[in-house]
Symmetry: C2
């Protein structure tokens, strides 16, 4: 849309940066009816998701291979968790420079297998190509959920919860919240859920739909502001639940992980923090020029 109007005014063609990551995804999703959640939901409640990790963007050139593998795999596990699913199988596409030590590749696989194995997920194949400059790892994961939790199921009056601590930046070593998410969907009617990859301020917006507003309370957010709002790559769970379930949830929750109620879903639109509008300042892969 934006591209068309820019063109009709005789301006240079719009770029990916002009539209931003989310703008681009929105444009693509118009034609992709199953897209727009953490995973695509297929018949039989199969979940399919993929996530690229690129040197210089998601990890530094000197990052140990094992950590790169861990991160590439854990991000996908986290997407399956965000829908309350069970991760099952993964395939791996690698782009490698020819001078990459074989040791680096075996380290990468060690990291991927280490975190996948914790959650019963098996690497079943993949493909390798060479690149000249920027190595990448794309993991694609297939999982299953008895009843997939979507991003858009929040109801007015819902309590908003988040797991763990935000803004700590453990992006290379984080443990995806697969077990916690599975426990939540087994014991409660979770209305909406997402994993926090781009920062709370940004990701909470993915739970919005017309007519609802998220009211967050800064005093309750588990982590230092503003990092807890914007830093990204926490991979904690953000979810909403009927307020009548909160007492039972608190009583039954038996994980060492923190569980914090940070706000409410109300009638309205957008997101507020302490009553004031909160803008999305999370991580966008193609931030617009201002």
């Amino acid at each position: 849309m934006k591209f068309e109007s820019a063109r009709s005014r005789g301006v240079r063609a719009a770029t990916v940066r002009d539209l931003g990551e989310f703008g681009l995804i929105r444009q693509l999703c118009k034609d992709l009816p199953r897209a727009g959640d953490d995973c695509a939901v297929l018949p039989g409640n199969l979940l399919l998701t993929c996530d690229p990790v690129v040197e210089g963007i998601h990890y530094l050139p000197g990052t140990p291979a094992r950590q790169v593998g861990w991160k590439a795999m854990a991000r996908n596990l986290s997407d399956i968790a965000a829908m309350g699913g069970t991760p099952r199988w993964a395939v791996v596409s690698l782009g490698l420079r020819p001078n990459t030590p074989v040791r680096w590749v075996t380290g990468l696989y060690a990291g991927m297998n280490a975190v996948a194995g914790q959650f019963g997920c098996e690497i079943v194949g993949g493909d390798i190509t060479h690149v000249r400059r920027e190595p990448f790892v794309v993991v694609t994961m297939l999982g299953h959920a008895p009843k997939p939790v979507l991003r858009t199921g929040s109801k007015i009056g819902d309590s908003v919860f988040v797991t763990g601590t935000l803004g700590a930046g453990r992006h290379l070593t984080f443990v995806p919240r697969v077990r916690e998410a599975q426990w939540l969907v087994r014991h409660f009617d979770i209305h909406a859920m997402i994993d926090l990859s781009d920062g709370l301020a940004s990701d909470v917006r993915h739970l919005l739909r017309p007519g609802i507003r998220f009211d967050l309370d800064s005093a309750e957010i588990p982590g230092k502001l503003p990092a807890a709002l914007t830093r990204g790559e926490d991979f904690e769970l953000l979810f909403t639940i009927d307020p009548r379930d909160v007492t039972a949830l608190r009583a039954k929750w038996n994980f060492p992980l923190k569980l914090t109620e940070i706000g409410r879903v109300v009638r309205g639109h957008g997101v507020r923090l302490d009553g004031r509008p909160l803008s999305a300042k999370g991580y966008d892969h193609f931030p617009k020029r201002r």
Copy 2:
């Protein structure tokens, strides 16, 4: 293995180039029991495959986006075809430079949708990241096969067939042989099958197993030598079948595409062309230094 011995001799660590693409895949496959065919075969005969396409490697910077999309999708469709399967769903991981025109991305999707739609395959989601230099497209595809045809099912005495013409280099516009493969497995007991991505001389070796040899007849190979042996990216089907089925196969085959018997499976090892050993000179993404 090779890496270990190099290290124990105090030589510099082995690189991906030293091992070669197939050596590296062999090493990784030792730990991945479901890997080593065109697709991973999962319970319920689900097929899962992925294939990276990188600028400067699989297409030139000036290649029309639609052709890039077509190629990225068609390669995966061809992998599903090679197991006699039906492609169903695909997810797409994109690495894009921020200055990429949005028009390029919509062209890419137009190309992917054009070829996927021909075979009833639907793009259901994906993810986008930015890259600094080398854009990439990784399509991952999920399909289904009533009875997946593996690479290793050849029997001594089998006739070896190939579809189409080899060495023509239509890598950006090729039509994956999904329909032909589905027809073959519906009507005949196809013992082994693969799609020719790296060239006949290289890919036929993937059908080898201990005790069998492939004898090919150069006069029968449909295409100019040596291109037909080594050029790669033909994406035609290579398969073996009981010789008693050949007459019926020729009689029933009703596609405009050529179908040629190019050799026999015999007792022995390796591959021969006109009685002389044929080496793999197909495309290796990390050719060893000589």
